[in-house]
């Protein structure tokens, strides 16, 4: 199971990013371990500034905006 983390301080886009990933995983019938990291200290420790950012299994795959559909699919697979 993939561990997917969304980083965002609570802005609208960060929340949208999280739900986009969740919906896609439901649609694909795939279980994922999805977390939303709100804590800016945690973000700084991981080197993230631009939000929303996404990490898959600890590797940065996206930052600074809404992801697109095909990218999300690739992360979940």
């Amino acid at each position: 199971m993939k561990k997917i983390e969304v980083f965002g301080t609570g802005c609208k886009k960060c929340i949208t990013t999280e739900s986009m990933i969740k919906n896609k995983a439901d649609e694909m019938n795939t279980d994922i371990d999805l977390h939303h990291v709100y804590d800016p200290i945690e973000m700084a420790k991981r080197g993230i500034i631009s939000t929303p950012a996404v990490m898959v299994d600890g590797k940065l795959v996206h930052k600074g905006g809404l992801p697109n559909d095909s990218d999300i699919e690739a992360w979940i697979k």
Binding site: G10, A44, K45, G47, I48, I49, G65
Partner: protein
């Protein structure tokens, strides 16, 4: 090329609405139509180009560029990068913590945060188009110098004690994150997204700004400004700043207001002082920064900016 917006306004005000060109209402409507269409057109096209180019400059990279630089150079770089980076208040806290935890001095970080909302390249072009390029130069220069001096002052006074202590306990990652490699298509996509976001954020400020501008343009006579707000009136600059401190507008929204104020004969210094205070100090932004800065620091921040803009106002009025 931009006359098309004047023609459009002629058409709406005089042909469609049948307004008599000498009336105040016609002047106001003409101004409103011309300025809203022109500003939105320029804003959208410039944002797309700038957003594309900026996809090479991320806050993460800025942090790397600022790390370990000699202070003088770092202040300058911070305000330069602040000017070209748009401000998203949702990333100001992660940015603040990330900068400080990687050893960038507080003053350099604050210089970046002060300049970012104040100066941007799109506003510089819009000011040049609406008022003149010497005004653009004054706007960019004042914004950058205010940021650098503010940052240097914070370091000189050792104001680190006014930062919430937890910030200094954060350890930055030892390795920098790999920058994502983006395709040209992804960069365009990024620029388009950013343009949409900024339009969503500023459209209301632009409409209000143009509305206020149109109202002043059509209904407040030039004599009023000459009688009450000429350079001889020493109180005009501090009053303009004090009025502007609680007001907030995105910089795009103040352009039509500045255009009208200059046109009505308000001195350049007073106008600059007024618009800079309007864009630099935003209450919601202060509330967000309170998470990492103590109340005293916020008071210092607002007081510094108010004093700086009053000095700017007097100097420009005296020089020009």
């Amino acid at each position: 090329m931009l006359e098309i917006f004047t023609k459009l306004a002629d058409f709406v005000a005089y042909d469609t609405l049948q307004l008599d060109p000498v009336t105040h209402l016609a002047e106001a409507v003409h101004f409103f139509v011309e300025d809203t269409t022109k500003i939105f057109f320029l804003l959208t096209s410039l944002m797309l180009i700038v957003g594309f180019l900026r996809s090479w400059v991320s806050p993460e990279k800025i942090r790397q560029w600022l790390e370990g630089k000699p202070k003088i150079l770092a202040y300058f770089l911070a305000v330069m990068l602040g000017a070209i980076t748009p401000f998203c208040s949702c990333s100001s806290i992660p940015l603040f913590i990330a900068f400080l935890s990687s050893g960038i001095p507080l003053g350099v970080t604050m210089a970046f945060l002060i300049t970012s909302p104040m100066v941007n390249e799109v506003a510089a072009v819009l000011f040049g188009e609406a008022i003149g390029w010497s005004f653009t130069l004054a706007y960019v220069g004042v914004g950058m110098v205010t940021g650098m001096v503010g940052g240097a002052l914070i370091d000189f006074l050792k104001l680190d004690k006014w930062v919430e202590p937890f910030v200094f306990q954060v350890e930055a990652p030892s390795d920098d994150l790999d920058e994502l490699t983006l395709t040209i298509k992804q960069r365009f996509h990024h620029a388009w997204d950013e343009t949409k976001d900024i339009l969503k954020l500023v459209w209301l400020y632009v409409l209000i700004g143009v509305g206020v501008g149109a109202g002043i343009h059509g209904f407040v006579p030039q004599e009023w400004f000459i009688a009450h707000a000429s350079a001889d009136n020493l109180l005009a600059v501090p009053i303009a700043v004090l009025i502007a401190v609680p007001l907030y507008s995105n910089v795009t929204g103040v352009i039509p207001v500045a255009e009208v104020l200059i046109d009505k004969g308000l001195p350049v210094g007073t106008t600059l002082a007024f618009i800079m205070s309007t864009v630099a100090i935003s209450l919601p932004e202060l509330v967000i920064l309170r998470k990492v800065l103590k109340f005293k620091m916020l008071v210092f921040f607002v007081a510094y900016l108010a004093v700086a803009f009053i000095i700017v106002g007097y100097s420009f009025n005296w020089l020009f």
